[in-house]
Structures are given as structure tokens and as C-alpha cells.
């Protein structure tokens, strides 16, 4: 009996030991795996472009203020004295920059006159030629656990933060072996005296073990497991490695479904800047939050968070890390955290989709979710906000006018920098922040008259045959289709206009004249132009293609117009600027790609007519001052039965496409002019872009011609217009009755004088 009891005891001990050893071994391998691998799977972070402010550069003050507002800068009176503040006086803007990358935080004074930055000066009066605002964080590519962090290496951790953490969380960190009986005892005594929990007994290593492997439940069993894991961590890793892992891994806040881990990301999340730029009071706030991220959240519980921050400050004062004076100064500061920059995983779903499409060309999904890539996109948050506001406002206005007919109206819009092809903003719905069907990239719709400039560009490349005053036939047309059917195109005004000059046919968007032109040119010539414009689809060989039955997505349409807006230079659309690894090493850059697809002359002629669209054509209604300032041009498009309302137009360096319509393809009361153009107008009026002057191609000459017959005319002749021609292609004939009004006395005298001058010089 005795023997058997002894045996049972031995056996139990053996079994317990085996189980214990097995458990510890499993835990040990988990510790190593987690700390060596999984912990460092960092999701890619996506940023908008950083705004650069350059001496001599162009900037609209309202746009700058909007950017600062989006970045949560606070408008103050007087000179700003804290990062994240700005003020405005008559001709200057003072910004206390938070700092980002190589941009030091500090106060800068910008003198802005006539939309131009005259000077940038530092607080000490020294002139600076270039400063950069931090880019807006716009989303991330998250792994399934939705933990987000920015990994820091030890050199990126400020020494005072390290000291602060140790004072508050684990004074004996460098002397214990993972668990500290002294700390447990001290916490017990302190908490008993205070009749509450004022200090925890867990070491930093225990806290790390807890956050890596265990749930937050407080049980003896879990405490024992935590202690074993802490001991194992201490066996495998140095103190410095453990502290760094803690700083990178500790949970600090929750933002929607996204969990904010580590001090690197917490600094960006609460203060919009790198950890190295934080002041002591800001660091104290973050350290204070470790005790209870939700309880001491400066967003949800600011009073409690401040009390806790002040306690941290008093602890470091007691340890002589700061003086009494510094303590009083820091304690007096307000919290000044920024509101979360995005609540969901991505604030701009349509733009994010375009970024994802571009990223997938070079990265696989696991790279994006684990390698901590820093993706700087071309998103301009101000332009994006204006775009969103424009479509929402315009939809409201249209609904007031058309009522329930517009219930369920959808839309899409994309804005690019026409010079570079950089996509700067996109929306895929009239509710831009909603996820779902992204019409900007997925809605394939008939483009209506948006196709016409492509046909006219095909013609204008043949200087000898077509110029802007070439007469086109806009009389009734019947085309026999295969199968014996007749197709008879009509104009929007249901009238035929006989012979009209080419520029009128395009600016008035006449269907019949355009169909004839397309058929005269032939499908292969038109196809060639489509290809040069970056349109990858083959055009079907039926004549309705020339007046808009061709289908495109808004993204494809804006690519085609990019080459036109950009003087004939094709640049593929691109939403990403650079992709960097977490170590700030450039992994991939997306360089400008430029290819000259058209000579400048035909593009110049086409752009002249696209400008006419704004002066007298389907986009009329803008002041001549605005048309000149923006150097604008564009084209409306309306598909059959007004199922699609389109507008593409450029102003300054911006090119924008807008589509409005219904997902079920029903008829709408909107044309390109009454629908999409209104969104464009609303948007551009907010942005008020600044244009660069472009040199006129040397072979372009202007001539007065008649708007009806296209023959030579004069400034004083009725119904005349001054239009450009490629040198040598100007009309030669001038009707008898216009000879008088073409040559004024003044210009005749000037001509005679010139002749005499020429004769003298030749001699």
C-alpha cells in the first residue's frame, strides 16, 4: 500500500515534470517565434504627398489654410508657439511645423503675395528656401490581426523617453531577471497605503509577455504563465532588446478596428509627428497611457489623461530628471492632441483602390501587409476634399432642380496633374467615403461627345487636308449598316447646319459633321490616334463610334485627355510617388515617364477649340478673366437618352473628369453641361488653380476668318474670329465684300511702311 502511494507520488511528479517541461518548451518556442518574427510584421502605411512650400513657388493662401486644417493645425492669434499651430496676418502665414523626416519642427513665416511665396523665414530671421509639411496618413494595408505600428530601432528612441518608462513602469528593469519580487512587494505596500492600485508589480518583461501571449484577464494561472514567459524572454534576449520590443509593441490606443501599438505610431497618431520631435509633456502623456489606454485616453478622457500625465511628470521630477521649474512649465501645458486623422482603415476608398492597383504591379499582398512599407502617394488632400465637397454640393443643387428624378444618382470623379499623369484625387460615388462599387475605375460607360476631340485630333495631324477653318458637311447623313439597316445620326439640337468650319463643328459638338469626318479619315487613322492617347481598347468598326457609343471608365477617359492637356506628351497615370522600407530606404520610386505622342501644332489647334467650348460652346458661362487665368479647355459628353453625363476639362495643371448617371443605366434629365460640368465648375472655383504659360509653337500663325464660310476675314468684319493655323495652311481666299473690313487704314499704312523698311534693309 505504502509502496503504491510512493509510486503514485513519483509517477505524478514525473508526469507533472514532463508536462511542465513540455509546456515550457512550447512556450519557449512561442517566445522566440513571436519576438523574432510575427511581432515585426508591420503593415504598409499609406500617406498623401507632403506639401512643399518653396520660395518663389506658387500657392493659393486658401488652399494652404485648407491643407493646415486637414493636418489638424490650430489657427491661433498672434505668433504660434507650439508645434501644430498657425496664424495668418495680412500678407503672411506663420506656421509652427511639427516636423517630418528630415524637416525639423519649428516656426516659419511665409510672406505670400499674388499667389506667390515671396519669402520663408525661420524664427531667428534666417531665410529658408524650402520647407515641407508632414504628409497626411491616409490608410494602411493591414494583416488580419489589424495591429498597426511603426517599428523603431534603438537609436530612434529618445533617451528621456526610455528613462521615463523605466521610472514609471519598472525601476529595477536592468537588475531583475524578468520578475521582481522587490517590485511586487513595493507595489503591494504602496497600494495598501493608498487604498487603491497606484503601482503595478509587473516588470516590463512581464508586460511584454502579457501583451504578446495572453489575454488581459487577471487570474493567478495567467500570472504564473506570464512570469514563466518573462523568465524565458530574459534568457533569450538582452535587456536592450526587451525594452525595444516593449516600446514597439505596447498597446496604446484603438482607432476603429485598428489597434495602435508602440510609441512610434502613437506619436504620429496623437501628435502628427515623429517621436524624436515630441516634447517631454507629450512623451509623459503617452507613458501615462500605458496604465490604461482607454481610461487615460486624451481623446475620450482628457481630464483624466492630464492628471495621469502630470503624475508621470512629478515622478520624473522626483527622480531629478527634470527641475521644479521645468515641471511647473510642463504641467501648465494643455494636451493638444490632434483628432484621429482617419477613423476607418482608409478615408479615401476610391483613391485607395487606385493605389492598390498600382501597388499590385510590384508587390504581393504579404509584402504589403507585413514589411512595414511606407507608401507616399500623389494624393493631394485639399484637392480630394474639394472634389468630395463639389460632388455632394452639386448633387444637392441638382436634386433641388430636378427632384425625385435624380434619386439614386451616382457619380465618379478623378483629378490628375496633367503634366505628370499623377493622380491627385478620386471619388467613386456621390457618397465618397463609402466603400462599395468604385465607379472611377469600374464603371464602363458610353462617353458621348468626349470622343470627338480624338476624331478631330486625327484630322488636324494632316495639316495639308484639315485646318480649323476647313468646311465640314453637317447635312443629313444616312449610313448603310451590314444587314441592310440605315443609321441616320442627328445633332443634339435636332437641326442640320450645312457646311460649317471644323472649329465650329467641334465647339458646338455637331454629331453629323463629326461622323462624316471620322468616316473620311477611316477607322485605322482614328484607331492610331486612340492608341497614341493611351487607349488600349480597339475601336469597333461602326460609325456611331465617332459620336460616342465608345465605352470607357472615367480612369481611361482621363488618361486619354492627359496627353491633350499636356501638349501632346503622354505620361501613364500613377498614384504612387515612392515606396520606402521601414528603415527609410528607398525601395521603389515611380519616376516621371514622358513620351511625345503628338507634335505641338495639332495639339495647339485642338486646345484652341477646347478653349472655345468655354467661351461660346457647351461649357460657356465662365468669365474671360477666369478662362485666361486657368488656361482652361474641355469637352462635355452626353450619351444616348442622357443616360450618361460627362465632362473632362483642364485648368492650370489640373485635369478632371466627372461622370454622373445611374447604376441601372436609366435615363436622366442631365446632359454633360447641366450635370457633370456643374461638378467641375464647383470644384475648380474652389481650387482656383494657377496656370503656367506655355510657349506657342513657332509654326503657329493667327488669321481672322469668317465663322460661317471659314474664308479669310478681318477684325472689323462681322462674324469673324481670330484662329490659329499651322504656317502655310491658312486660307488664301478673301471674298470681295470683306476686303475693306479686313485691311484697316491703319494696318494698310503699317504694311506699306514695312515694305519700305524691307526694301531699305535688303539694299
Amino acid at each position: 500500500m505504502k509502496l503504491s502511494l510512493k509510486l503514485i507520488t513519483y509517477l505524478s511528479l514525473i508526469i507533472f515534470s514532463v508536462i511542465s517541461i513540455a509546456y515550457v518548451s512550447i512556450l519557449d518556442s512561442k517566445v522566440v517565434n513571436k519576438l523574432d518574427g510575427v511581432l515585426w510584421t508591420v503593415p504598409a502605411k499609406v500617406y498623401a504627398r507632403p506639401l512643399e512650400l518653396a520660395e518663389g513657388g506658387k500657392i493659393n493662401v486658401d488652399v494652404l489654410k485648407k491643407e493646415l486644417e486637414i493636418l489638424s493645425y490650430e489657427l491661433t492669434k498672434g505668433i504660434p508657439d507650439t508645434p501644430g499651430e498657425f496664424s495668418q496676418s495680412q500678407r503672411s502665414v506663420n506656421i509652427f511645423i511639427r516636423g517630418f523626416g528630415s524637416q525639423e519642427p519649428g516656426l516659419y513665416r511665409l510672406k505670400i503675395e499674388n499667389d506667390k511665396i515671396d519669402s520663408i523665414k525661420r524664427k531667428d530671421g534666417i531665410s529658408i528656401d524650402l520647407i515641407q509639411l508632414e504628409p497626411l496618413s491616409i490608410g494602411g494595408m493591414f494583416p488580419s490581426h489589424l495591429q498597426d505600428r511603426i517599428l523603431l530601432n534603438f537609436s530612434q528612441v529618445p533617451k528621456d523617453l526610455e528613462e521615463m518608462i523605466l521610472v514609471v513602469e519598472d525601476r529595477n528593469f536592468y537588475s531583475h531577471k524578468g520578475i521582481s519580487l522587490r517590485s511586487i512587494m513595493r507595489a503591494f505596500i504602496k497600494n495598501t497605503r493608498a487604498l487603491g492600485i497606484e503601482e503595478g508589480g509587473s516588470t516590463i518583461t512581464q508586460q511584454l509577455a502579457k501583451s504578446l501571449f495572453f489575454s488581459p484577464e487577471q487570474t493567478i494561472k495567467r500570472k504564473i504563465k506570464e512570469a514563466i514567459a518573462a523568465l524565458l524572454i530574459e534568457i533569450h534576449y538582452s535587456k536592450q532588446e526587451i525594452l525595444l520590443a516593449y516600446i514597439n509593441d505596447v498597446f496604446i490606443a484603438q482607432s476603429g478596428r485598428r489597434a495602435i501599438h508602440g510609441f512610434g505610431l502613437a506619436s504620429q497618431f496623437f501628435f502628427g509627428t515623429d517621436l524624436k520631435n515630441l516634447s517631454l509633456d507629450q512623451k509623459a502623456l503617452l507613458v501615462g497611457m500605458l496604465k490604461g489606454p482607454s481610461l487615460y485616453s486624451p481623446i475620450n478622457n482628457p481630464d483624466r489623461a492630464k492628471t495621469r500625465r502630470d503624475l508621470v511628470l512629478s515622478l520624473i521630477k522626483n527622480d531629478s530628471l527634470i527641475t521644479e521649474e521645468e515641471y511647473l512649465d510642463l504641467k501648465g501645458r494643455s494636451l493638444k492632441v490632434i483628432p484621429p486623422s482617419f477613423k476607418s482603415l482608409s478615408k479615401y476608398p476610391a483613391f485607395n483602390d487606385i493605389v492598390t492597383l498600382d501597388l499590385r504591379k510590384n508587390f504581393d499582398d504579404s509584402d504589403l501587409r507585413t514589411k512595414g512599407l511606407k507608401i507616399i502617394t500623389n494624393l493631394d488632400p485639399v484637392v480630394q476634399d474639394y472634389l468630395e465637397e463639389s460632388i455632394k454640393d452639386t448633387k444637392l443643387q441638382l436634386k433641388r432642380r430636378y427632384g425625385s428624378q435624380l434619386n439614386g444618382l451616382e457619380g465618379a470623379g478623378i483629378v490628375i496633374d496633367s503634366f505628370s499623369g499623377e493622380v491627385v484625387a478620386a471619388i467613386g460615388s456621390t457618397k465618397p467615403n463609402n466603400y462599395g462599387f468604385n465607379r472611377a475605375i469600374n464603371a464602363v460607360r458610353p462617353i458621348g461627345s468626349l470622343v470627338k476631340p480624338f476624331i478631330y485630333l486625327s484630322a488636324l495631324q494632316h495639316y495639308s487636308k484639315y485646318n480649323l477653318s476647313t468646311l465640314l458637311d453637317d447635312s443629313k447623313l444616312s449610313v448603310s449598316l451590314p444587314g441592310g439597316k440605315l443609321w441616320e445620326p442627328n445633332n443634339f439640337d435636332k437641326k442640320f447646319h450645312g457646311n460649317i468650319p471644323l472649329h465650329v463643328a467641334l465647339s458646338e459638338s455637331y454629331n453629323v459633321a463629326t461622323t462624316r469626318l471620322g468616316m473620311d479619315l477611316g477607322y485605322s487613322v482614328v484607331q492610331e490616334t486612340f492608341t497614341k492617347l493611351g487607349i488600349k481598347k480597339k475601336i469597333p468598326k461602326y460609325p456611331s463610334i465617332f459620336v460616342g457609343s465608345f465605352e470607357m471608365t472615367p480612369l481611361e477617359a482621363i488618361q486619354a485627355y492627359q496627353t491633350i492637356a499636356s501638349e501632346g506628351f503622354y505620361s501613364p497615370l500613377n498614384s504612387i510617388r515612392t515606396v520606402e522600407s521601414s528603415e527609410d530606404v528607398l525601395s521603389l520610386s515611380y519616376p516621371y515617364k514622358v513620351e511625345q505622342r503628338f507634335r505641338p501644332e495639332p495639339i495647339y489647334l485642338l486646345k484652341f477649340v477646347l478653349k472655345q467650348t468655354f467661351i461660346s460652346g457647351t461649357a460657356r458661362g465662365f468669365s474671360s478673366r477666369v478662362i485666361e487665368k486657368w488656361k482652361t479647355g474641355g469637352k462635355t459628353g452626353t450619351s444616348d437618352d442622357q443616360r450618361d453625363s460627362w465632362f473632362v476639362g483642364y485648368a492650370g495643371n489640373y485635369l478632371m473628369v466627372v461622370w454622373l448617371g445611374f447604376d441601372d443605366n436609366r435615363k436622366s434629365p442631365l446632359t454633360g453641361r447641366t450635370g457633370a460640368l456643374q461638378v467641375w465648375k464647383n470644384f475648380m472655383s474652389r481650387l482656383d488653380p494657377i496656370a503656367y504659360e506655355v510657349r506657342k509653337p513657332s509654326r503657329i500663325r493667327y488669321e481672322w476668318v469668317d465663322t460661317k464660310d471659314g474664308l479669310l476675314s478681318g477684325e472689323r468684319c462681322k462674324g469673324s474670329i481670330l484662329i490659329p493655323f499651322v504656317e502655310g495652311t491658312e486660307p488664301e481666299m478673301i471674298p470681295q465684300n470683306r476686303k475693306k473690313c479686313r485691311i484697316s487704314e491703319e494696318s494698310y499704312t503699317a504694311k506699306v511702311l514695312n515694305k519700305i523698311k524691307e526694301a531699305i534693309e535688303v539694299k
Binding site: D129, L586, S589, P591, Y592, V594, Q596
Partner: protein, 148 residues
């Protein structure tokens, strides 16, 4: 010796242009009108000596101090043969100002070094549309645009 030859060659082209322009009193000097193709053999010679051309390009400064600072950064990277970073810096310059010929010229040469002849020519053609370009800058841009 080669450098001297090239300097003479550029001077010769300029002189020919100047003489050409003076013989036609009706027209103002406008280097944009210049048909570089007429001097194709001389231009080709210049294009064979990229080092000489590069030295000429590096002498072209920007008008805006902010762009000049970027040019210095780009030139440093270029000297270190880090073409990717040099290109990134120049593109950053273009985002700030699209009317600086110094940027187009450097990008045209850099793309040539990267073996992207079409792009080199396209940057030069774009630069030719810059209204603020000086006659000398236009002439240099014409040389690169003539590669097509």
C-alpha cells in the same frame, strides 16, 4: 583637346545661327525656330561626347533659390552615380516649378545616361515649351530633342 574642339563647335553653331539671323532682317532671333537638323552632323558630334554636354548642362542654374537647392542635391547624387535619386530630386523640382529649364536639361541628359533616348528627347521637347527659357537653354534643349 576634345573639350576645346567641342567648345569651338558650339561657338561655330551659335555663330552660324547668329549670321543666319542677321541675314534675315524680317525675323527676330528665336532659337525655338532653329532647325537643329540642318546642323545634324555637328549635333551628332556633340551627342557623342556626353561628358562635354553634361558639363555644359551642369552650368545651367535655376532662377528660383528653392529649385537651385534641389539642383545641388540632384547634382550631388548624379556625381555619386545614383541616377535614381538624382532623377527623384529633379522630379521634385518639377513639382515646385515647371518653368525651370535647368530641370528639363538635366532630366534630358539623365534619361540619356539611363539609356532612355525617347524620354530624353521628350523632356527636351517639353523644356522647349517653357516660356522662360533663355536662347542658350533652348539651343541645348534642341540638341537633345534632335535625337529622335
Amino acid at each position: 583637346m576634345k573639350k576645346n574642339f567641342n567648345t569651338y563647335l558650339v561657338a561655330l553653331i551659335l555663330m552660324s545661327l547668329f549670321l543666319g539671323c542677321t541675314s534675315s532682317p524680317k525675323k527676330e532671333t528665336n532659337f525655338y525656330d532653329l532647325e537643329v537638323e540642318k546642323f545634324s552632323s555637328s549635333v551628332k558630334l556633340l551627342l557623342t561626347d556626353l561628358e562635354f554636354l553634361k558639363k555644359e548642362i551642369l552650368k545651367v542654374n535655376a532662377n528660383k533659390p528653392s529649385v537651385q537647392r534641389i539642383l545641388i542635391e540632384a547634382d550631388d547624387k548624379w556625381m555619386e552615380e545614383d541616377l535614381k535619386k538624382a532623377s527623384s530630386a529633379l522630379e521634385r523640382g518639377l513639382r515646385i516649378a515647371k518653368d525651370e529649364s535647368a530641370l528639363y536639361l538635366r532630366l534630358a541628359h539623365l534619361r540619356l545616361e539611363q539609356g532612355l533616348i525617347k524620354e530624353s528627347s521628350a523632356f527636351a521637347e517639353r523644356g522647349l515649351l517653357n516660356k522662360n527659357a533663355s536662347s542658350w537653354e533652348l539651343l541645348l534643349l534642341k540638341i537633345y530633342s534632335a535625337q529622335k
